[in-house]
Amino acid sequence: MKARVYVTLKAGVLDPQGQAAKHTLGRLGYGEVEGVRIGKYIELTMDETDPARAKERAAAMCEGLLANTVIEDYRVEIEPEDADGADGAASEG
């Protein structure tokens, strides 16, 4: 089973990296960009068949290591095992 983990800076935490990217996008002619926030995408391949348990474990991993909850939020999505695995549909956390 695969878990997709998105780690993003909390609202209110200044993201100078995002600001620099926004500045450069503006120079490239993308003046409509009002804000850029840069985060991390982490893919976990897990030996686990229960989507609920996989999600719970992935969230614990975020708390323990993958995210620093002082400055970052995280979101976990569980990828269905296969095309028929509708039960494991992507869910938000």
């Binding site: 935490v13 100078p16 290591l65 002082v70 400055i71």
Partner: protein, 236 residues
């Protein structure tokens, strides 16, 4: 009476030998000793204080200090700290202590987005810790910084200040805290903090680089931090 410092060594530590030299050579005449402790060890052995040195432990993978914070030795450090043992984190060591939760807050990318490497001045708050016993409130220390992720953030910095956990703030040579003297955008100009009990201290500037006349423009202001932790320290 001697005081033994254990200096942790992680893969990617690069100020470990400098810190060891400060406590094992420079301050040896004052009764200071030091030895390296490997990150895979599970016991600290017989030491009086712990130093987490600067560097780029584990290549700063994930976040600065995030991987080292869960090294085997860190359980022993947490236990030592819980028992009131003096623990000093310098630069990456400060990041490791925050990531481990032994210090509050976090250190993120400098506001300038640049690696800042230069002399700074910090003013001491007067908070009594094992590493500031010998330093008067308001004293200004000149020490260099060298980091890309040293901007201190905290969900409630004012509360941290009121709790007396702010130990060092970036300041002018005259001791005035100002935006111009702040090299990384740290909230309240914070350069160093301690835990509630005061026995765990972290700071971004490098005291071990300011211990000998031959280094860093000859300043020796960093010595007072290590001297404070010596048995009967604080008399300096």
């Amino acid at each position: 009476m001697t005081t033994t410092f254990g200096v942790l060594r992680f893969p990617g530590s690069n100020c470990d030998d400098d810190a060891l030299r400060a406590v094992d050579v420079v301050l040896a005449p004052a009764g200071s000793r030091g030895r390296i402790i490997w990150h895979k060890d599970r016991s600290l052995g017989d030491v009086d204080a712990i130093i987490l040195p600067g560097g780029f432990s584990y290549g700063d993978y994930l976040r600065g200090g995030a991987i080292a914070a869960h090294s085997p030795i860190m359980d022993a450090v947490a236990e030592f700290a819980a028992g009131g043992g003096p623990v000093l984190g310098i630069c990456n060591g400060f990041q490791i202590l925050c990531e481990r939760g032994l210090l509050p807050g976090a250190l993120i990318r400098n506001e300038s987005l640049r690696f800042e490497c230069r002399d700074t001045h910090v003013v001491t708050s007067g908070r009594q810790t094992p590493f500031t016993r010998g330093i008067a409130a308001g004293a200004v220390l000149r020490m260099s910084i060298a980091h890309a992720e040293g901007r201190y953030v905290h969900p409630d910095p004012e509360a941290l200040w009121r709790a007396g956990q702010v130990v060092f703030r970036y300041a002018t040579p005259a001791g005035e805290v100002s935006a111009d003297a702040n090299p990384n955008g740290s909230v309240l100009g914070i350069a160093g903090i301690c835990n509630e009990a005061g026995n765990v201290v972290g700071l971004m500037p490098h005291p071990e680089r300011a211990c000998e006349a031959v280094l860093g423009g000859g300043g020796q202001d960093g010595r007072a931090i290590f001297e404070s932790a010596l048995a009967g320290g604080g008399a300096a």
